[in-house]
Symmetry: C2
Subunit: 281 residues, 2 copies
């Protein structure tokens, strides 16, 4: 009995340590108190968390400088070209109703080739455009997205985001993923693999790929095709596996591409006037 009495504090210490350890453990795996429901885990830029590599792609080192010149237009022509391009781009709308009519693949390839002219951090060109035209595969993409989107709407998103989207008549039923002749799934390569199997960091890969998508949208509008710029929430890992893309590639955007359906509608939204987006100093 005396022994037990002496041991009591020791037992209490052990108990407390175990309790403290469990608390720590649960803290690490507990859901974050301020959840970020609409941020796709697979979308997080993991570039910075990859191990430091100690070698560069020597083939690209010591790049020579070459003379550069560009097409020079008169001021009058510049004004006209800038206005015409604005008018063309200003007709672009996000469209969620697609015709099933086929579109020449060569046009899609040219549009993607154009997107590939975008600048990128340290010229890493960290983009891959997966063009899905197979009906079965499109449907599998749709099933994955609808399943996750329903969860997003019902559970993950805040009421605010759902309300914001409701005015755009957006929900988790995505007919367009079957209807559009092409789905372009845009992957960002968070790192590259060198010939010696070492990793090569892709700096600013998400910004670079988004810039590339901006040029893609311009190129699509230029040929009269429409799309909806979507960022499928939480679908990245499943779609990456479905499309057999490597682990260094993360899904950034999904763009269904085609002609608009004859009865397509869009939300009656206006854009901000120029003076609300530009400041002259």
């Amino acid at each position: 009995m005396a022994l037990l009495s002496v041991l009591t504090p020791v037992l209490v210490v052990i108990f407390c340590l175990v309790l403290g350890f469990m608390l720590l453990k649960s803290q690490q795996t507990a859901p974050i108190t301020n959840p970020r429901p609409w941020v796709d885990q697979d979308l997080q830029d993991s570039t910075e968390t990859t191990e430091k590599e100690d070698e560069v792609d020597s083939s690209e080192e010591h790049c020579q400088q070459v003379p550069f010149s560009t097409q020079r237009y008169s001021e009058e022509t510049m004004l006209k070209r800038s206005k015409d391009f604005y008018m063309l781009m200003n007709q672009r709308r996000t469209v969620r109703f697609f015709s099933t009519e086929p579109v020449p693949l060569e046009v899609i390839d040219n549009v993607i080739h154009t997107a590939g002219t975008a600048p990128s951090g340290a010229h890493t060109e960290p983009w891959v455009f997966v063009v899905v035209s197979d009906a079965d595969l499109k449907h599998q993409v749709r099933l994955i997205i609808e399943e996750e989107e329903e969860l997003n709407y019902r559970q993950r998103m805040g009421d605010k985001w759902v309300q914001d989207l409701s005015k755009l008549k957006t929900n988790w039923i995505k007919d367009y993923l079957d209807d559009a002749p092409y789905l372009i799934l845009v992957f960002k390569q968070t790192y590259g693999i060198l010939s010696n199997n070492k990793k090569k960091t892709h700096y600013y890969n998400e910004i670079s790929v988004s810039i590339s998508c901006g040029i893609l949208l311009a190129a699509l509008q230029n040929v009269g095709l429409v799309t909806v710029t979507s960022t499928p929430l939480n679908c990245g890992p499943r779609l990456r596996l479905l499309l057999k893309r490597p682990v260094n590639e993360k899904l950034l955007m999904l763009l269904p591409v085609g002609y608009p359906a004859p009865d397509a509608t869009v939300p009656d939204l206006a854009r901000k006037p120029l003076d609300r987006i530009v400041v002259h100093l």
Copy 2:
């Protein structure tokens, strides 16, 4: 003494709880073991960490759907337009040597207006383009950037990033910030302010603004102007204050814009061929 003996376990429990609490606390505030030296703090997307708002911009609710149609081209015309646009965009290069020749402001405004046609998360249009043409202000921008860039090169960046950039002949001396007739500083609005002074979340603001910059680059190329798409490291807060932008705006990119210098050079780089950026399924 007997009392103390009885109290011992209680004291031990309290001690352990305090210890556990301190451990937890230190766990939360401990510095991350793998620092991210080249990621600008001001660049971090803080949208998700802002408080939850409980109201939506009611003026945008219940948006009506309106019929949509777009310009329809023949397949032959689509092919030609897609090729021509590719050829035009493929001539774009990142240029670091600028002529001091003036450029009509109206052209710049049209180009920015074009960038403002980009899609954005829930149509938040979270971009502001600050156009600096005043020579003194341009020079102040330059001083801030050169000071921070020198620190970046000398201290903050890994050797790898500096090596990657060395082949592009990039360093912290930026003559072009004085030479180019315009500096366009692109800010992302991480949240908006409603008329009732409440915050309005800007979903995916960084991706949206980057897409907008892609369209901006296309519009610049379309009028024969050049730029270098830069993301000034760690300069965001100082430049934001210099340009008197509000706290919800974070600097994402800085684009000097003008004609190339007559003796401009560019690195002799090639772009990936189409088959390395596209996958057909």
